[in-house]
Symmetry: C2
Amino acid sequence: MTQMTMDTTTTMDKAEHKAPEPMNGVDTPALFATINAVGGQPELARFQFRAQSRWVDGTHSRSTMSGFFGAGGEHVHAAVFKADADHPAVLCGADNGPTPVEFVLHALAACLTAGIANIAAARGVRLRSVESSVEGDIDLRGILGLSDEVRNGFQAIRIRFAVEGDASPQKLREIVEQSRKRSAVFDILTNGVPVEVMVDA
Amino acid sequence: MTQMTMDTTTTMDKAEHKAPEPMNGVDTPALFATINAVGGQPELARFQFRAQSRWVDGTHSRSTMSGFFGAGGEHVHAAVFKADADHPAVLCGADNGPTPVEFVLHALAACLTAGIANIAAARGVRLRSVESSVEGDIDLRGILGLSDEVRNGFQAIRIRFAVEGDASPQKLREIVEQSRKRSAVFDILTNGVPVEVMVDA
């Protein structure tokens, strides 16, 4: 999930606001209709996303993602999505999937990319390609319990986009910047979220 | 990635530290050897994880996760892992994969679960099952650009574990708590990370 569109008051001219044509695989009229519906009925904006996870063996686990709440009701995805995670061999895992922290990087890239496609469509910019490379630096002395001075998580994340489309480099950069400004995952990662951990045992 | 073990000075007795037997699919001797190696050569703890992402169509993108740096050199996973992400139909996507924010929830569950398995093994606790359910609340008025008062990301995340194993409920709860204390993803989500976004356009 990332930005569904730009801030309508500052980034669209009236023509775009009135009748943006579908573009980049984005059903722009439907997107604008959704935004208008939520604008008139803010309770539709309350969503809850979920995952269920099950330990498989060692550091290997599998999550399923299927149902979520939003727009006033329960929904199910088109399929029950599954994702495996594990630690790599060098960290004594069996390497049955990406590490949990790589999924964090994937989430960031996916959120910003979806926003770029939506915003470009809303601004009438046809995209040819969007690619990104994301990296996160981590010092494992934190999670290994070897230092209380070293944090457990990433110390820094960098993402670099290469965007090609029918607009000036300046306009393409503005689209990426607008996606960043309204990205759910960028906000989660940079500003943090309260996380409650509960145990039935 | 999550905690590879507990804080050795506070949570293991000497017997555990000396010769923990493999358990829960965790090669505990190899894990302790890794920790000892990193303790003696802290530069081995520097890791960099990466993902490459490519826009497919609409809000659909695909990441690949293959190479990473750590323990003094470059590594590749056992396979080139791929993950698709998309927005659901109710948010005008084609639902070709989980949403980016669901991957954040998956990452949290996977990180804590891997830590639980490692710590339980190090403490000599045989696990039978670890299941978790994680949910995140989000108000889409943020990403839809309908309110500047509403944040873009999750407002709260809750994860509930059900753990069964050959130990008292109290001991099982302590294992989950120790995993939380040394989890990379828990730290990333609760404390935030600086994220740099760059664009070649």
